[in-house]
Amino acid sequence: MQVDLQGPWSPLFGRLTLDAIPYDNPIIVGTFLGAATIGLIVVAAVLYYKKLPYLWREWLTTVDHKKIGVMYIILGLVMLFRGFVDGLMMRTQQVIAVGPDSPGVLGAQHGFLPPFHFDQVYSAHGTIMLIFAATPILAGLGNIIVPLQIGARDMAYPYLNAVSLWLTTAGAALIMLSLFVGQFSNAAWVGLMPLAELPYNPGVGVDYWMWAIQLSSLGTTFNAINIIATIVKMRAPGMTWFRLPVFTWVNLSTSIIGLTAFPVLGVALSLLTADRYLGTDFFTVGHGGNFMLYIDLFWIWGHPEVYFLILPPFGVFSEIVPTFSEKPLFGYLTMVAASFAIAGIGWSVWAHHFFTMGMGPDLNGYFSSATMLVGIPTGVKIFNWLFTMYRGRITFTTPMLWAVAGIFLLLFGGFTGMMLSAPAINYTVHDSVFVIAHFHCMVLVVATGAFAAVAYWWPKVFGFKLDEHNGKLFFWTFVLGSVVVFVPMFGLGLEGETRRLDYIFNPQWRPLLIAEEVGIVLYCISIFYFLKMIYVSLRDRVPAGDDAWGTGRTLEWMTHTPVPFYNFAVTPQINALDELAWRRENGLDKVKPETFVPIHMPSNTAVPVIIGVLAMAFGFGMIWRIWWMAGAALLAIIVAVIARSFDKNQGYILTAEEIAKLESKTELASVIAEQPKRAPLDHVEAH
């Protein structure tokens, strides 16, 4: 049973026609030309320098957790830029389209974006920022750092790790494709029901949104399984539970959320898929469907997802603040307890996203109370960071600046979040830009956490530090931009401005909208300094030591900088919480291993990247209802997975002599250096 669709359909091309390509829109054509030019330059450079085999062997087919992490972060940064441009367009539209006399260009009555485009832009902004920018960057950080912090060789499932990456990339690629072929959803990143159902959204936009999220959420679930297994099973000898660094603890709690929450999203989207493709009535208005069910399911995933995003930055701050205060973290045990308290309470607060949907006062009161409870462990964390700084010796390097800014944002975001959790206040600002400003404070904590972590661990991965001068300029312009965008936005919320407006009907809102636009300009300047920081750092390449900051406390600073592909020449024996600090105190931090034992390493595999490409083809086929394409891609994925299970490759052995040789010339063993070519093992006795 296939539903009735508006518009033509053919067996060969499905719903895809030439009209789907918006060649008449100068913004999209310009974007396409820019993206195509950059893409061609990259491809030409790779071919000219004959780097294709290197790219294939060392990156596309790699199962090394550090390289996978780096690719996650690159993906996240690219999508962060795309999401920022969406934000720039929204802010600019709102500053132009004020009042009935405002000018309009490019087919819009007011501003430069007709509602059709504006609605796609805001939907894409939310989807991209949360699912394709924040999530991959945090997944990448966890991938790189967690195995290093627990003294592991790699993740528990290196092959699954690569599959996670390429599934996430396939989802991101579908979103980028929606810009040039067809359209994106206009029903917000949450999928507003019943607006996302066929009667109100007959085009392919919602399908793009649905399949992009579905693919990447599979990747995120696999990654959560991987992180949990790694932390539970792969800890070095002596690394007991309460010697785990807090960043590893939060990755465990966040992965438990990921493993348990993302399947709920998968089910909700699958039921919506059945509605849109088979004509069922799960979330429709009539025929016994109930769209409130979708809203509940979505937020049962959606709120834990918020804590899934915010917990890793808490872990980052918990690493950075002690390092640059030259003191151990205050209240380690309560920090761990608070992380799991946040993750646990996160499951019981979802209905605070719809206090205005007519729940009774008792139910609203319950969800209000549960939400306020989150404030307790969050407050504890802030106090613990503060008392880590207390009687410390603080140096304000770039990572420390980001961490302090993140804690300020957390205080302000937490305060406004407590306001919103009271229904009496929520009835006045729900769905207003006050809410937008609040959760941007919170996701800016994620952004500051991510930038802090990138600056902090960059030398560990690449062997040289990021440029501090430009890094600080990037920091100050970014923080100033955030203040100038979001403080006026709180004001607009109190003036009553509602969210998702492509035309501003109240001219009184104009002054603060102009202020927000100034903040956006500051953000643009901060991007310039970010790029300059990367450029200057790559040009100068000031080498960093093993303990790059000189005051590192945890295990990752004990191995070489940059980290060799086998992580540790000899699996370390752990003696204390903050192992490196303990060894430094006992004069053991400079001791090098004398004898080596062979290391068993996983071989590269092309199957994950092939699965990624096939998953994208499957998604594209489903979106445009090109059944042969979707069917063939799905079949090929199944064949690839089965074929891989017959692969007898058991990895390879790095001999003790090779390790000794590599250890004497560590620059050969960096993350960007090549692995030795080696015939795979048929059989392996033990790890």
């Binding site: 609605d119 009161g365 209000s368 207390y390 009271a422 729900h430």
Partner: protein, 314 residues
């Protein structure tokens, strides 16, 4: 660097100095329900400040005081203090308990279905003014079952009377909201929600939809005019005399997707007495008012002319 740092600290103050509170609708509530919302906003924020302000101060003082260059006291291994940890958990627990108490009191005070804030109000002695609110894509229908009149995008109520609204939608979700007067409540297809408010003095207030509903969402406003009882009665009489009637068949014509630029009002006499129930029943039976692909893809081509001819004004 120093300049940037100082500017970063001062920028928000500059912005605050640049605007008075006149524009801040939520600081100027009208009527008992909105005033209760404002009261609980101030009360809860006040309680939160007991913990937020000292924390903020510590966050400013500690990083400045314990900079390496200041050579302040350094305790390289100090990482535990039972007293501080008990306080770090205990104070937030105590503050949160107080907040939860006031949140529960507040949610009953402004409960849209039956706000405690209206207990003993002048209007509670009189029978309430009933208004049925039906949202379409993208207009507001206000139906007065007792006065036998209906309007589009114009809500007129008498001062000093309790107004009780029933809300539903023909198509997708919308949020009903009059910032200075009435708490927000969603209008949902196939379902019924309620809202209540009471204003003592005449005045005109802006209302609009808060929950995104598609291409015409940004033009989905309505005016709320609170008038004296005598003016309301006179106004109702004028509309009752309007030759345009609103039987259900006419309503279903008007319910098709229409962008009402500028929220131009329209008035009807003799609306179908069961209109609200029929809208709910139809939605539950799967009657939809689909948005044509052309309107989701390019509203600009339809701008300036509504898809369905606008009904005549009185």
């Amino acid at each position: 660097m120093r300049f940037l740092r100082h500017f970063a600290l001062c920028a928000p103050l500059l912005l605050l100095a640049g605007c008075s509170t006149v524009n801040f609708a939520l600081f100027h509530p009208v009527g008992r329900v909105a005033e209760a919302e404002y009261h609980y906003t101030l009360l809860l924020v006040g309680v939160m400040m007991i913990i937020i302000l000292p924390t903020f101060l510590l966050m400013v003082i500690f990083p400045l005081r314990y900079r390496k260059s200041r050579n302040a006291t350094y305790a390289p291994n100090w990482s535990h203090s039972t007293i501080i940890e008990i306080l770090a958990w205990g104070v937030p627990v105590a503050i949160t308990a107080v907040l939860i108490h006031y949140s529960f009191v507040g949610v009953y005070a402004v409960n849209p279905y039956s706000p405690d804030a209206l207990d003993g109000s002048p209007g509670s002695a009189l029978p309430p003014i009933k208004v049925d609110v039906v949202t379409t894509d993208w207009q507001w229908f206000f139906i007065y079952p007792d006065q036998h009149i209906a309007t589009i995008d114009d809500l007129v109520v008498p001062a000093g009377r309790r107004v009780v609204l029933r809300l539903t939608s023909t198509s997708v979700m919308n949020g009903f909201y009059i910032p200075r007067v009435a708490p927000m409540i969603d209008a949902m297809p196939g379902m019924r929600t309620e809202d209540s408010f009471e204003v003592d003095q005449p005045g005109t207030f802006e209302g609009f939809s808060t929950d995104f509903s598609g291409a015409g969402f940004s033009w989905m406003q309505f005016s709320t005019r609170v008038v004296s009882q005598a003016d309301f009665d006179a106004w109702a009489k004028t509309v009752q005399a309007n030759p345009n009637t609103l039987p259900y068949a006419t309503f279903t014509q008007l319910a098709h997707p229409t962008v009402n630029f500028g929220a131009k009002p329209a008035y009807f006499s003799a609306p179908d007495p069961e209109l609200f129930d029929k809208v709910v029943r139809d939605a539950m039976n799967g009657v939809a008012y689909p948005v044509p692909d052309s309107l989701t893809e390019s509203v600009s081509s339809n701008e300036g002319k509504a898809l369905v001819p606008a009904p005549a004004s009185p």
